[in-house]
Symmetry: C2
Subunit: 457 residues, 2 copies
């Protein structure tokens, strides 16, 4: 890679920050209808930024919600095509009083950019734009082809993006998708998350008598919906933390020895986690380490339970109903539809006497994994290592980024999650910020990556 | 009994109703501080009513809360002394818009008196006053001695009455306590409830991490407080509905063959209960009938459970805490203090890994029973039978009336619960009412009772 590219980035840093601050000044809060004009303004700003660096066929595509910004540069004939996904929308800013400086007036303190969206995801999307500008300005061309797909609804669950992708398969056809919307493992420790868990959820509603009953007048003679719910909920795990739903683990891919080694080599320790969470001990499926439990094992968690009296003191009632909300995190090759069926069957086979039980389904998401020895992943790892001078960690994520699974499902492409945030940067919270060190190193890393990718794919 | 007494009641019915309506017009809502002047006015009204019929040493005794009205008539030398307990306070009236006529403007429709307090308990307390007036006016004397103890805090749990009773043991010394604050079994079917269950409750608070956690990022690696709570709650019963807390049944009195027969003879059927509650099947401790489960077996019911997300849809959270509220109904000779200890021990021995569990105690109440072959109970049964012309049912109550247990504990006296309401009369609800048939027959029954009691005790 040309040394001149780094120099270009260095010399233009002030201008780049100034331009980024303009982007950060637009309150593009996708969740709040009052801000839809601002969201549109951020889309237009993004499109202009793409046009300014030389992207072609730049367009703001309307959807049923907020628009998708598209732009491309396809002049690297015979070379791979990279689709860069990002988002120009941001989270709400409440509670505003906890911000040390206004969320939409970006502000540098202590070598960090403070603003809503600084890290998630305007900052990281902007880095992609400026890294490509640096290569183009310095070398006059690019080592690979690019397609930008920058949406405005990520913070509200990307309700319209899957349909947009489905309808524009040809427009978006590429060899690899690169997303910078995640974090390094820790300061100075690059990481590539190459797998995310899927999601599948149910709500269990247990109904008893027509109304709440006096526990003195009826207690002992009727089934208490809370007791019935507890019997059902308690049946999902055994004492070893193993999920006891029949067939639940049937399609789970076994963890490979390579992955076991890679996870064991990660610097994250149980002690760190205990301290961070204020716990005395961890708990999970027997026979697996904490990271294995988080990365490659499926889970079943009750996210909410409720029934009867919740106020101060006591009310001697047998409630007429009780409910629980449950979600499973799924791993390859579990199918959310199959798991949803197994969960429903499990519950229906365990309905206690004297109550009626209804099970309803929530949205589902497929698990995603790009094999960590995929050339696009390995090239990204080498790019990180050139800039950060330490080995890249290969992790999997416990959470779900539905759009990643959607890209995987619809386009069938490898996805590289190459993030530059830090876990401590208050995404979604007051005083969101982004470390300038990673703004600089990140753009350098991206530039290296495109040249590595040219050689790898 | 003198026929003239009945005639007196008949001839004065209009006046009695008019007087009762005056009593019912006072909004003596003990729960609402704004009404404390009205509560006091009801106390004074009660005291005046006692004076008017010839009670002596009538006094309105102040307490830390609302006052207690006392009055006595002790001229039946060598005869037993009856303490009549009742209350002049009433429940709040919300929601007011559901009342067909204003709650404090008593109104007769369909041979029922509609007003807050009509049945619970101004109407029934007033019947005692007028029954005694009838005997005194007709015969010039009374067959037994009387002490009235009419309080103003029953609807808020009688917080100050136990102390008043404790401090006035001599003043209140009697041979039997008679309370009319319950119901007939059904229209035309008199019943005496000779036992009530006690109460003992705990709250279980399970605490996990310092904050709610993202179920994707941490799910599988930490104990979920809801899971831990469910494990504990599920441990209280076995599949046969038997409570599995060690020692829980140790002091429970065995049911006698006489009682078994008496309960089996009651007209209440499981089918009625199923229809009333909108249930397809009942559920309870194996080996006992429904009435045995309600009257003489202890229970453990979860009255409330809560933790995590309760809104529409889904939130993938592992909550930092979850709680359950539990109460036990106790039967003779279970001691609420002993049971509370057993419950705490049961929970502490079952704390799952990775969480902290706190158990706190609620107010406790002793169970109460007056043997159903006690002469005061049997005399009451005969009095009912003379007026209602059907056999009296001997029942026990599943609920707890704390003041009954307190009288039992402090004064060591038999308590006769001789009610004239009907289970359908909307106590504590809009459109509370009282059947005039039972107003008439009830006073007649009481008059018979006092003459029966003279012969029995």
């Amino acid at each position: 890679m040309n040394q001149a590219i780094n120099q270009y980035l260095h010399e233009n840093k002030e201008n780049h920050l100034k331009e980024l601050f303009e982007f950060l000044a637009i309150p593009s809060i996708s969740a709040l209808p009052d801000y839809s004009g601002e969201v549109k303004r951020a889309a237009d700003w993004t499109a202009d930024a793409l046009r300014r660096i030389g992207m072609e066929n730049v367009e703001v595509y309307p959807t049923k919600g907020h628009p998708v910004v598209y732009g491309e540069w396809l002049k690297a004939e015979g070379k791979p095509t990279v689709m860069i996904y990002g988002h120009y929308d941001v989270q709400p800013v409440d509670p505003l009083e906890l911000w040390e400086t206004p969320p939409f007036e970006a502000n540098i303190r202590d070598e960090k950019i403070f603003a809503r969206g600084a890290s998630d995801d305007k900052g990281q999307t902007f880095m992609h734009i400026k890294a490509i500008e640096a290569i183009l300005q310095t070398t006059g061309t690019l080592p690979v082809n690019f397609k930008f797909c920058i949406e405005g609804e990520e913070e509200i669950g990307s309700p319209n993006l899957p349909a947009f992708v489905e309808e524009n398969k040809e427009l978006l056809a590429s060899d690899v998708i690169v997303i910078s919307d995640t974090s390094l493992l820790d300061k100075g420790k690059p990481a590539i998350c190459y797998g995310l868990r899927g999601l599948c959820g149910i709500q269990i509603d247990v109904k008893g008598a027509v109304s709440d009953l006096h526990s003195g007048l009826y207690g002992g003679a009727v089934q208490n919906p809370i007791h019935a719910l507890v019997v059902i909920v308690n049946s999902f795990h055994n004492e070893d933390g193993v999920i006891t739903v029949e067939g639940f683990y049937d399609d789970v891919e076994a963890i490979t020895e390579d992955e076991k080694k890679a996870f064991a080599a990660l610097p994250t320790t149980d002690e760190q986690l205990l301290e961070q969470l204020g716990l005395k001990e961890l708990h999970g499926e027997q026979g697996f380490t904490t990271l294995e439990r988080l990365y490659v094992r499926p889970t079943l968690e009750v996210n909410g339970i409720y029934g009867g009296f919740q106020g101060e003191g006591i009310k001697t009632v047998i409630p007429k109903e009780a409910s629980a909300k449950i979600t499973c995190r799924l791993v390859p090759n579990q199918n959310p539809d199959v798991i949803a069926d197994l969960l429903q069957k499990h519950v229906q086979e365990r309905v206690p006497a004297g109550v009626e039980v209804n099970v309803s389904l929530f949205d589902k998401g497929h698990p995603y994994v790009t094999p960590f020895n995929h050339p696009a992943i390995q090239a990204a790892g080498r790019a990180y290592e050139k800039v950060y001078n330490v080995p890249t960690a290969y992790t999997r994520g416990g959470g779900s980024i539905p759009i990643v699974a959607a890209f995987d499902q619809i386009l069938g492409l490898p996805v590289v999650l190459m993030g530059f945030g830090l876990p401590t940067e208050n995404f979604h919270a007051p005083n969101e910020h982004f470390h300038i060190e990673n703004f600089d190193k990140g753009m350098e890393t991206l530039c290296y990556y495109w040249f590595e990718l040219e050689k790898s794919l």
